[in-house]
Symmetry: D2
Subunit: 417 residues, 4 copies
């Protein structure tokens, strides 16, 4: 039996509605896709379960799927990123919502399971939260699922592991693998919004400060880029020697994290791995060091150990926990190690999510209308859909890409001198 | 008769206290000056009236003056920048406060006059709010005043006009003219915090967008620098042809504001002048244009005309007013044209205000202890105090400037080959 | 019969020798590989034909192969990039050289064929100059060839076409595909050296000027990056809409090349394609426009048409040809449209070629010692050799990459929450 | 008696002529001033002695003065920056030249004195070379001089010392003090051309390397800016604590030069002082350190001591001297410590010298036509001439500065609220 929406406070709907409208106003690509593709009826009556950072931009995607005729259920992918006002606004519009800001661990779990119990045929997933729990706990519902879209690098890693174990029986479109996703959302979107959140929350000055960026994948590149853009001296720590040399050639300092622990004023993680900052780092950090995470999970800091090492813990400012070490040094952790930009801000910029959600919308539409084209397992979103999103965006900007002449196309495939 | 403190809600004191502690933790220069200079007793019993953006950093300066024995009264320099929690915390500590967030125009005026009615002998001024009203409305109190410090370019312009008219009968130390002030506070501080506030409030993506910066003085340079650091394509409009060529050589686009009005996605003002954006600009702006002001006063946009031109006005997001034009275009104004970083954020970074307030603290201390050294009128802060602030800051960073050898010093003043 | 070396002027050897020593001094990675890998005897007596931009850095690679016991023949890959002093120095050291600066087309061809006629068993190729001619004109020698390494994107495209036609009967290691090659050589190396050459040759000021970059592949990204680093306003033209949006998000202006033709002050090409700038662009360019090519071949400009359109042609400065159009506009072409950095400069920075040639050295060594491991066709250089080059470089810098803990490695492959 | 021109090789005139034409083509401001101001006859028959870096751009200024009717004598301001081809071209056009590339110290002196012996009434000076020697050695000619223009910071310092000693009996317009000079020539021009020369001469890779910049005046700021633009990690050493903090806030590393000596890969000086790099630095530098000077004189390195410390000295590459230290470390000095951009390159970019020489042309014209307006001593160029140069330049770019409305002008000078 499907339950009613669970939201914290329905009276917050107007505030949520205002935010959703702001997102709608700045989502030209999604608006175009809603008019052109989603409107063709292939989503009518389909049950779509959506797990995402539940704020205005994702809400707007849910609204468009709902308006295209789908029966949409949404739940949050991260305890801190759910905004109660946005949930209220969605519920008011007749979309099923199971999500509250900062729920207990049990409630967080319960909401996801409730979403799965609606027996969805399409999943829009983030971190494989839906797909993973479906495989572990609801094997009886798997056959109902036509396919899923997945948004993060972390999720793809988990799905790949599932696929290798033979427990992924339906197709998943790896949205993250699309160039219009990871080059924009992971790199520009995360970097841009994380640095803004870092500075808005701390009221500190970044120029001239040393910012240690853990990792040099897409997310970390974005962090480094925008930190440097604000005048920070960036230090990169990364296991892949090739990436580390790239970081060096970009003008960043490169070193091992043990050295970096002593040098840094700010520490930003975006590796997708666990315990990236741990006891050996905490021991060396300066008084006042600020730690913030931009990776999907709150595993990047070994917070349990930090708590254990500290003599006291208090809220130093909104969203900032201060741990005092025995020798008086203070270490500041933002948003309890959860996603900095969503947990202590409004998440990615609207225009970036317009691109990511355009890919999801095209992916869900594609799965709904041509499911039989796919084998189970992780699939790339077709290159032409990736390019289509880019073309729509460029058209809203009035820009035309170059067109190759016939002579140029022939030249590219000849080899005789 | 001196009134009790006027604050909105005394129960907010703990939140304000937390913010002040954060400021204290990040103000090493001011802490050093409090221990070394302020502690010498020359402020004991002096009445100091302080008008500033009343948030944590200024509050901390007031606390230090108070702890140095002064009788301090504080009031806000800008209706939107006053934070009620901080006011409550100050009042709780026994500092006299006349300030509430977003007061009526009458209350705003009243608070400043109340501060003057405490018969201060030292003024710590911002925009010449205290000094101007003293000359206009309280001539009987002028003789009591030993001197003042003034923080803004705008204030200095007003004081210069007063001085030219012969109505400035006491010395004013132009803190703004100190290099440690305008090179840091106006340029880095305003630019850094304004861009953070712009992005935190709009949740929009700056990279690749065209940001029109009105002016190319210190404030505008900072705006351009940090906007460009986030990947914006910056357009500069400025009357001084030399500055305009500097902007061009920095890689910014330069044009007349009438053209820029059509091109821009964001418009930032920092000129210190009035009606910098007006009817002829509003008429040409794109749908969705965002306007924000980083100049001292809310005169930089001709908002009265914008209202008159619009068919409707609504809050599009917190701190953002949307004006709809007859042809459907929407123009978004942040913080009602008041200071973006203070009106819709926490103001300048703490470390920057540590420098500015270090200059004020030294200035107030200097006036208190050596008032007879000064003639009436605008004075520069002595160069050695300016350098002293820089030296203290460098020492907290463990950095030593070069020392010239005797041979080098002799070389600089010789001319024979 | 193998001919003696052909060089322009043996007396230039000391100058060439000096340049080679400078390269040797700045090639720590190659020096390490020479000591560790090349010294194992597997190159003894092997005939290696080398076609490259024949200047100091390549010469140093030839010297190391020669010292490792190989019988080395070198020839130039581009008429303008061959430096006669370097050729003289190599010949003096007993390495066979067929190359002169700016030879006739016939001589250029002849040199390459002479190199092939030495019956090499290993080819170190650039632009598939050796491999292509071998397949077209020397089928009888193909069986002698154990394998080749190829350095450019352009070469790989040609080899892929050959492979598709079934005329590539031996393995070719695509050095260009190694990350340590294209991320460094194509991007940083070409961009860095091309902008230096552009400015050293023109003595013009780049800051504030509009630089049109044709393409947004690795080479063009480097051009854009270093042009922007010098304060240029960069315009990117590119057929791939995703890359074009990346360029936009980097803060570059994006537009169609027809529009860009009117806007640009400088035009830089790096597409690997032909006639990228042609009549329709020449017609629209400003007086004084400067054109320079960083792509492998001198086909990127349609120079034949430009000549035809012009009323006169003269050398305006060393390496700069000025074409005057009927309406008086002047168009300036650097190095006759050949590679800007090699044709009008000393080519890539030494430290970059140290990396590229380290890959070639490891590739040639790998082919020589384990040829039977390979199938015919284009092969990637093994990932561990790619990483090995990065690790050696980092070690010369005293930097250690992060090491993942066991727990972290396990975490990356688990999916259960 | 006035001697004939002294040039190295008259047959180089065509090459010099080509270079001068290139400068002419890229000097729109000077061309405009030649047509508008210089053509009014006030220079007819005036004797102008010019001491400058004698290459194409300065030559073009001499040509315009000559064409305006002046009797022009030119000599070089720096032994290495004189280009013989340019001298030949000037002599061929009938301008008197006393200059050869890299003359003996006696010849260098002799040329300047020959120029003074033409009994000039106007001096266009660089480093006060003419004025200083006039005061020291030709007191009898002083009264003939109507006035001079001086181009460098260094020259102004010397002139100020002369003025303080009472030995400067005619007016000198301090061109360097004009904003259109030092903000452009010193900062952008020197930085841009010095980094290009550094890289063109060394063929090394700057990205990721540590560049120590001595000083943080206008010249050093330019060096830091363009080095950072090419991806260098910049370290700044400077005695003024305020400037040092500015450097820090720009994201540069700041430290004492003794520490920096160990850290740096490249060392650039632009202080105007002597022995800025000396024994204590040389002792600590890494093997391969590269030293280059962008300051006016070759006094910034203590080369005598470096020679003394070294066991051998050789030319490592054109323009690069290698000093080997007892422990095998090699230190590389470019252009023997003379001006990097002029001594090992073509000097400042053309468009920058167009601005500087526009100021000189207006200055010389002003002195020639209104000499009686001036007192002896150092004078600022009138602000309106400074702005005039900026306005002409903007007009060639099609850009109009903002115009203030009457209301805005009134607002700037009012103080009442």
């Amino acid at each position: 039996m499907i339950k009613e929406s669970i939201v914290k406070d329905p009276s917050l709907a107007p505030e949520g509605q205002q935010k959703i409208e702001w997102a709608a106003q700045h989502s030209p690509v999604l608006n175009k896709i809603a008019r052109n593709q989603l409107a063709d009826g292939s989503l009518t009556g389909r049950k779509v379960a959506v797990t995402v950072h539940l704020e205005a931009k994702t809400a707007y995607l849910a609204v468009l799927l709902h308006e295209a005729g789908a029966e949409v259920t949404v739940t949050g992918s991260n305890p801190l990123s759910t905004q109660d006002s946005v949930c209220a606004a969605l519920a008011e519009r007749g979309i099923r919502v199971y999500a509250t800001h900062d729920p207990s661990d049990e409630d967080f779990e319960r909401y996801i399971h409730l979403a799965l119990e609606t027996e969805p045929d399409l999943l829009l997933d983030d971190g494989a939260e839906l797909t993973g729990r479906l495989a572990q706990s609801h094997p009886e519902l798997i056959d109902k699922v036509v396919g899923a879209t997945e948004t993060t690098t972390t999720g793809i890693l988990k799905l790949r592991a599932m696929s290798d174990e033979g427990v992924l029986p339906f197709p998943v479109l790896g949205i993250n693998e699309a160039r219009m996703k990871h080059l924009f959302d992971n790199r520009y979107g995360t970097g841009h919004s994380s640095i803004v959140s870092l500075l808005a929350n701390t009221n500190l000055f970044l120029s001239g400060q040393r910012v240690v960026v853990m990792g040099f994948g897409w997310v970390s590149r974005g962090l480094a880029k925008y930190a440097a853009g604000f005048g920070a001296r960036v230090i990169v720590c990364e296991p892949d020697p090739v990436k580390l040399l790239e970081a060096h050639s970009e003008g960043y300092e490169v070193m091992n994290s043990i050295e970096a622990a002593e040098a840094g004023d700010f520490f930003l993680t975006g590796t997708g791995n666990m315990k990236v900052l741990r006891r050996e780092h905490f021991e060396r950090m300066k008084d006042g060091a600020v730690l913030a995470n931009a990776g999907h999970y709150d595993h990047e800091f070994d917070l349990a150990t930090l708590k254990e090492m500290s003599v006291s813990e208090r809220e130093a400012r909104k969203h900032i926990t201060e741990y005092e070490m025995p020798n008086g040094r203070r270490i500041h952790v933002i948003a309890r190690g959860r996603l900095l930009n969503s947990g202590a801000g409004d998440g990615h910029p609207v225009e970036i999510m317009d691109l990511t959600f355009a890919l999801h919308a095209l992916g869900i539409h594609y799965l709904a209308s041509r499911a039989s084209d796919f084998e189970p397992g992780i699939q790339a979103l077709p290159e032409d859909l990736d390019q289509e999103v880019a073309r729509i965006k460029l058209r809203t900007m009035g820009v035309e890409p170059e067109e190759l002449t016939d002579e140029q196309m022939a030249y590219q495939t000849s080899w005789r001198s």
